[in-house]
Symmetry: C2
Subunit: 303 residues, 2 copies
DNA sequence: CGGAGCGATAGACATTATCTATTGATACAG
DNA sequence: CTGTATCAATAGATAATGTCTATCGCTCCG
């Protein structure tokens, strides 16, 4: 069965005349006659009672009409909805973001995203790196903002760097290192506090100060916010990402630039075959633009 | 857009695999690939994210899925409903019947019709001849039981005689003619009562007794039932159709066979192009069979 | 690095739709 | 009652579309 023939059928019902129905459908009258006959053969039902004067739908035809109209309407709605889905810069866009980035980056990019891509409905999803990779692969996310990778160790995923985020030394006010203008990464190694496992920042912070393992004990913060509170309370030092500087200062923490300028690169990652690459790149561009010049200021301690 | 392609789409969504979906659809894998691509081009939307491992529907595709399923379901329902409409001996059958026949014939044929054509839903419609012709022509009726015609004066209609219905003289008990065994039609002419205009029986009764006009006054019965009451009350005589004999006797009327055996032929009439001719003929056959042998008995006064 | 699995592509072929021209039936006017 | 007009049906040619087989290119995996 063909939707075209169903439209022919409706046209004949509406006009009660093969010739005029054909004209409306943009085909010749014989075409309509033939197709209607085929439809009748397929359905096993006579659809019209034809005379040289009138073409009247049979009772069977009338019984079918609602269903026919339903099918045609559904088909039309497919076309209509598809038309609304054509724009790759419109509709849902599920963006994963790591927890050490989300609370500090999102407030900065929401407004620019809304301005630059008003039709794009960006839905943020906060989760740790490994989980974001999973969700990317299972098509639950369209893209993710991560601080890892960049190499080609994920062949099915593509990424693009958006901005560099320097780390900053975070010290309790009474800490000896707080007296210095610049802090060497290695000097933090001794009493550094880190996030719980699974946070990429944990590994990066340890790597930056030259430690391979983590310090023991229960003092592994589950969130960066908790970590800041712990530092402020004098439990130790830490490295924080540049965008968290404001929150750290609010917590009463002393910030110092790092001697070797350790940091991380925030990248946007997506499936290589994701068809709305333009949306990914548009979102990436908005973020990169918003964060332009941030790295230098943050690294220099200018918050 | 094509329903076939929508089914292909659903198969790919269901199986997440072009090859298996193709197998299910009974076509080759390239066919499916091509048709899906065409559909994507038509809709302007990428429907699947393909890798060598997986075929995942895009968000746009998921947004469309409900509508696609709706269209396919509607198409299937067309086929299903049509299947139920295939039998010409099933479904609605609107049968017009003239008022001087309906109340006496219907009780006789309901049971046989239900037995012989259990799936046929015969809907009787009582109206005068002219009105039945109109409704036949406007497709409001599928067939009609009439006592007129039979010739080819209605080129767009066809008819078939079902049974002969003799007229019977109906007399008040005290009427002089009631003394006779057989009444001559002409003897009724003097004080015959007839139905109001529009009833074919009126003209036929007048013609049978050799009168062209009707008798004046307010005594034109609107229904045969009224006419019988009037005769019983002694207002005059009349000719009644044989099937009404029972009702006439119940009213206390004396019945006598007619000398010249005047009568009418009941025919079933339908549009020449009506596609369910088999249904018409089946109904006609049931009626004719039920009334077989009736004419002789009625004419002889054996009720 | 080679084979297996998968979707995409190319080109031949088959099916289906559509067209023009015509027929046959019917209604209407002279 | 005959010619004309109208309409759907039919025939045959042509165009459009779908489908097939064979093959490619990519990716993953041993």
């Amino acid at each position: 069965m063909n939707l075209r023939d169903l439209r022919y059928l409706l046209a004949v019902v509406e006009h009660g005349h093969f010739g005029r129905a054909a004209e409306v459908c943009g085909v010749s009258q014989p075409t309509l006659s033939v197709q209607i006959r085929k439809l009748e053969a397929l359905l096993g039902v006579t659809l019209f009672e034809r005379t040289s004067k009138t073409v009247a739908p049979t009772i069977a035809c009338e019984r079918l009409l609602d269903h026919v109209r339903g099918a045609v309407a559904a088909a039309d709605s497919i076309l209509a909805v598809a038309r609304g889905l054509r724009d790759p810069l419109a509709g849902q866009f599920r963006l994963g973001i790591i927890p050490t980035l989300a609370p500090y980056l999102l407030p900065l990019i929401f407004a620019p995203l809304r301005e630059a891509l008003p039709a794009l409905d960006v839905e943020p999803w906060e989760d740790q790196t490994a989980s974001l990779f999973e969700r990317l692969r299972s098509h639950e996310l369209d893209a993710a903002l991560l601080a890892t990778g960049g190499s080609n160790d994920e062949p099915d995923l593509t990424s693009q760097p958006l901005f560099a985020e320097p780390f900053i030394a975070a010290l309790p006010p009474e800490h000896p290192l707080a007296a210095r203008e610049v802090v060497a990464e290695e000097d933090l190694a001794e009493d550094i506090l880190v996030l719980s496992e699974g946070h990429c920042l944990r590994d990066q912070a340890l790597a930056a100060c030259g430690r391979s393992g983590a310090m023991g004990g229960p003092l592994r913060a589950a969130s960066l916010s908790t970590l800041l509170n712990m530092v402020a309370a004098g439990y130790g030092t830490t490295l924080i990402p540049g965008l968290a500087a404001g929150a750290a200062q609010d917590a009463g923490i002393v910030l110092r630039p790092l001697a070797a300028r350790a940091g991380r690169t925030i990248r946007i990652v997506w499936r290589a075959r994701f068809p709305r690459r333009v949306a990914v790149e548009a979102v990436g561009k908005v973020i990169a633009t918003r964060l332009r010049g941030f790295a230098e200021g943050a690294a220099a301690g200018t918050i």
